[in-house]
């Protein structure tokens, strides 16, 4: 299985997290979550909306209707990322330093401060696992990981997937737990690279390697569908011409 690429393993791992979701929506800058959603669609019949896709089956303009669907409970899973993500699953899409004249300014919240509250299963995805990205406390809460009792919040963080590991978020405790590490990664390495405290079980399994059937789907139909709207990714990872 040494020929399984990290991207393929992550696609498979995220698809595992998505299992049971009837409708999965994905942002445009996330080819791996998008591929994972497509894999879930093929395995379980999930409906997938990909912001920016021109394929009719996935088309979603990322506009008003997606937010309305989320508010009605019609979106079961979504992905968010962050320039920083902390141990309470707070995400920061605004920047580093003191707001408003931050030392480093990023783009802004986009839909996060809404969707994070309303989509039952939000998966956080970030390929740079470092103390810089995962501090003890974010500099700015673009969207909070947990809310006080009484706040209408059917949704929230479910898991964090990185280039090193998969963590599961416990909403009751407001805390991550290391669920698996990718091949060649140790729990210690994850701890060293993470700025926030998290639960560390005695035994941490390796992130499951996709089987032949899933690999065939990923490298075949899904890679082809991914070329729209992710032509570069489809080319670089799967050698698919745009």
């Amino acid at each position: 299985m040494s020929d399984v690429k990290l991207e393929e393993r992550l696609i498979h791992a995220v698809a595992g997290l998505l299992s049971g979701s009837g409708h999965i929506a994905c942002g445009v800058l996330s080819p791996i979550p998008g591929a994972a959603a497509m894999l879930t669609a093929r395995r379980e019949g999930a409906r997938v909306s990909i912001i920016g896709s021109e394929l009719p089956a996935y088309r979603c303009d990322g506009g008003v209707e997606l937010f309305d669907q989320a508010a009605q409970g019609r979106v079961d899973a979504f992905f968010l990322s962050g320039g920083q993500i902390d141990g309470q699953a707070n995400i920061n899409l605004h920047g580093i330093g003191a707001y408003p004249q931050m030392d480093v300014r990023w783009s802004g919240a986009f839909g996060s401060a809404y969707l994070y509250f309303l989509v039952p299963k939000v998966i956080l995805f970030r390929l740079e696992h470092s103390r810089r990205v995962f501090p003890e406390r974010v500099d700015f809460i673009s969207a909070p990981g947990v809310s006080k009792p009484g706040v209408h919040r059917p949704g929230g963080p479910h898991a964090l997937v990185t280039n090193l590991c998969v963590m599961i978020f416990d909403r009751g405790k407001g805390r991550f737990r290391l669920a698996s590490v990718h091949p060649g990664v140790t729990a210690e390495e994850v701890r060293d690279q993470t700025g926030f405290a998290f639960d560390l079980p005695d035994h941490v399994p390796e992130t499951v390697t996709p089987g032949a059937e899933d690999l065939a789907l990923i490298r075949g139909e899904i890679a082809r569908d991914l070329a729209n709207p992710y032509p570069r990714f489809a080319r670089d990872v799967f050698g698919i011409a745009a």
Binding site: G63, A113, L118, H152
Partner: protein, 272 residues
């Protein structure tokens, strides 16, 4: 009645300094209009992005046209950060009123519908809310103990819109881009550039009528072929990746941006 003007510069002349202007996300950014506003030296604009923005906002901010930017995100997307926006936020040259996309849509729709305020789920506990004194949290009147964010309506003085076509009655075709309709309805008046003005009445096709901005909302209109360039005009021209990458490189430094701007100003009608 809609006024038909000759150039984007004629439209830009209608926008006074200090006005609030709304523009929608890509594709079909109103680039020709933004260039015209830069050429006329507009100042102190209050820019509202529906709900986010890219190069069009960055160039207006870099050129010093903007005092306040109300947005859910400004970025050049795969071409990186929006360099002039980032710089202007850091230096305080622009005041940023950070929002989240559905809040912009909800407040814009409240503007369209003449609602005095609009409730929205989420947002509570974010630093967005902490930094928006114009947003409030009230108790849900139907369910005490349920806190709800309420927003004031958004009604920009001007909507700045680029579209594929309009008719000679002032009706503007937006196709699937219904947020452009909402923007035009919510704004006090709309200034529109189009690729082409057609002779037939666009209202004749009743099935397509919901995909029009009615002339009632359109204060003034001008033809501006390639007026969204280098952003895409779906069906007519794609995103010009090379041009946007070149902008992204130039705008990284004040000097590079000044050079880009100089090229723009010395050839006032080149883009049209």
């Amino acid at each position: 009645m809609t006024r038909f003007l000759s150039t984007p510069d004629d439209l830009a002349a209608l926008v006074p300094d200090g006005a609030s202007v709304g523009l929608a996300k890509e594709p079909l950014s109103p680039i020709a209009l933004a260039r015209a506003l830069i050429r006329r030296g507009a100042r102190d604009l209050h820019l509202v992005t529906i709900p986010t923005a890219s190069m069009v906002a960055d160039m207006m901010i870099g050129a010093g046209c903007v005092r306040v930017v109300e947005t859910s995100g400004v970025t050049l997307g795969e071409f990186g950060v929006a360099p002039r926006f980032v710089e202007a936020v850091k230096t305080g040259a622009v005041e940023v009123r950070d929002a989240t996309c559905p809040a912009v849509y909800a407040a814009l729709q409240a503007g369209e519908k003449g609602q005095p305020f609009v409730p929205i789920r989420g947002i509570i506990g974010s630093d967005l809310l902490a930094n928006r004194p114009d947003w409030k949290v009230i108790d849900n009147p139907f369910a005490p103990g349920d806190p709800v964010v309420i927003l004031p309506p958004i009604r920009p003085d001007f909507a700045l819109i680029h579209a594929l076509k309009a008719d000679r009655f002032g009706n503007v075709w937006v196709g699937p881009r219904h947020e452009l309709k909402t923007l035009a309805h919510a704004a006090k008046q709309s200034l529109v550039t189009v690729e082409e003005i057609v002779e037939h009445d666009l209202r004749e096709d009743e099935a397509a009528s919901p995909n029009l901005i009615a002339s009632l909302y359109v204060a003034a209109l001008a033809e501006a072929p390639r007026g969204a360039w280098p952003t895409a005009a779906p069906g007519l021209y794609p995103l010009d990746e090379a041009e946007i990458a070149s902008y992204a490189r130039a705008a990284k430094t004040p000097e590079g941006f000044a050079a880009w701007l100089g090229g723009l100003e010395s050839t006032p009608r080149a883009a049209e």
